[in-house]
């Protein structure tokens, strides 16, 4: 009598977590999930919506969810703002060179850490992990004073070099992860076949690290593209990047939100696109290995 009851109860409980979850509960959770997704994405949507609104629609007592008369005026005025094009060019130059330098230096460093045992290796790893956490605004005072001393402020060279500290640690860390996963037997096979060490790196490890290089480059791009406080402090407006330009276009009262949101959209676009391409790697780079089920 009791046994079938217990068995039925057991089945019911298993179903509660398993495949046959109760329908009404799922519907409820779905509603909560959709509500969450909408609330989360609303500010992003509002940025886009404002960017396409004419000025009289931005400043209205009853905000419209969708632009009634969509226009590109805000984008035009953002593009024609003084220094926008210069700062866009600066952004591209600084990003390109700091990411390239970071990749070259970082690949060599990652090779050392992933493929060799040497004195000070663990300390090096600890430094690379910790340096990603150092609030760089704290380092800005000595950096400014040093760069100012050698006349590297108000120049693109100074920031490009400085940005290496944003790019390099993560690049080393990510490439190390890729190189560690290349079987050592491949290196050994190449050595047996008569390659020397340099050829092994060049012919075996470099091609296999390809995806890692792409991911590290994109991550470095996002880091340097998003930075504004260092460049704002070191340089004048003609040597700013787009983010610093954007920051300077905001005032405490009376900001022209339409053009600002258009500028924000243009500035965010490359970052969002690149981010979506490599998001897997970013998430795992910071926490990798923490889940070994």
């Amino acid at each position: 009598m009791a046994a079938p009851d217990a068995a039925a109860a057991r089945t019911r409980r298993v179903q509660a977590v398993g495949v046959g979850r109760r329908r009404s509960a799922t519907v409820l959770w779905n509603l909560v999930g959709l509500g969450f997704a909408l609330v989360m994405v609303f500010p992003v949507y509002w940025m886009l919506s404002t960017a396409f609104k004419p000025a009289n629609e931005v400043q209205t007592f009853t905000p419209h969810l969708v632009p009634q008369h969509p226009t590109l005026d805000n984008f035009r005025s953002a593009l024609h703002a003084p220094n926008f094009v210069t700062d866009l060019k600066n952004s591209l130059i600084i990003t390109l060179f700091s990411v390239l330098a970071g990749l070259v230096v970082g690949f060599l460093g990652a090779l050392a850490i992933a493929r060799f045992r040497f004195y000070g290796r663990k300390a090096m790893i600890a430094v690379i992990l910790v340096v990603q956490m150092v609030p760089f605004t704290a380092l800005l005072i000595p950096l400014y004073k040093t760069l100012n001393g050698v006349h590297w402020t108000n120049s693109l060279v100074g920031v490009t070099v400085t940005y290496l500290i944003l790019v390099l640690p993560y690049t080393v860390w990510m490439l190390r992860g890729f190189i560690v996963n290349i079987p050592k037997e491949l290196d050994e096979a190449a050595l047996v076949d008569g390659c020397n060490r340099a050829q092994t790196f060049y012919r075996i490890i470099l091609p296999l690290t390809g995806p890692g290089l792409v991911a590290a480059a994109v991550y470095g791009f996002i880091q340097t593209w998003n930075e504004f406080i260092i460049i704002n402090t070191l340089n004048d407006p003609a040597h700013w990047n787009l983010m610093a330009f954007l920051a300077s276009n905001q005032t405490l009262r009376g900001t022209t939100w339409g053009p600002l949101m258009a500028g924000a959209t243009i500035t965010s676009l490359p970052v969002v696109v690149f981010f979506l391409i490599i998001q897997r790697n970013i998430a795992t780079g910071l926490t990798a290995g923490a889940v070994k089920g």
Binding site: W29, V41, A126, P135, A138, N226, A247, A290
Partner: protein, 318 residues
Amino acid sequence: MHAVRTPPRVADGLSAAPARRRRREPTPYLLILPTLLVLAGLLAFPLAYMTELSFKRLTLRDLFTGGAGSWVGVANYSKILHDPFFWTVVVRTIAVAAICVVVSVLSGLLVALLMQRVSGWVRVCMIVSMMLVWALPQLVATQVFTWLVDTDWGVLNWLIDKVVPGVDFTNHSWFIDLWQGWSVIIALVVWGAVPFLAISLYAGLTQVPRELQEAAVVDGAGPWAVFRSVTWPILRPLVVIVTTLSVIWDMGLFTQPYIARASKPELDYYSLAIYAYQEAFAKSNYNTGSAIAVLTVLLMIGVMALYARQMFKIGDAD
């Protein structure tokens, strides 16, 4: 003859020699050298220079002539440590960071659990919306939030006016009252942090074997008991790491209050990082600014060590 006398030694020598040679090889040092130089130039040297500045005093004359200033011992530190405003900022920074960390990690965990319970297409919607938020540059996110709570035309004032009966939020300024202002900033930080936390924790949850959960249910465990005894032990290391990261990020809070106040933050909106920055670059007090920065780094160094230790412990940093 030779061979007969020495075979064991030769074999030993062959296996031992390459290993010893590898250990003395200069290659790894050459490879790591550029990285080392960058870290020395952009990390070690600035840290040392900053510490030096914090024990010195530059006069106005030094600032213009590039003079080195004079040693003043711990004068900068004692000045700061005796300033009640410094302690206000310290307490505020820690309190804000604590709220941000607790709220964002808890929300992240709840969202991750929610993601397990919804249908596949809803999960995709959630992930896409969170990815867009995650990808948005911090500066842009702050500007968008400032626009949402704008005094004159902000959509939040309009919404509160409409939804909550009996209040007048027309032209309500959110940053006059520092509690309201910081609430907006905390909401912004949490909104920006939840995607990383929820998606990482959801990835962790998928590692929890379904059979274990089912076995626990069969044994009579309720949902809370299943979470505590099955899910949590597997998720714990990941939660520790994301929490540590959140503590480090939120203690270094700079962009959100600084940009929300249009790069001219009032004293009420200072965090430690902003305090050090303003001291140095708005008031040209490089020495007090350096001392504050040194104290900030010291305050955070324990958490950073914890993060590095955790990464070594799980064997990922090996």
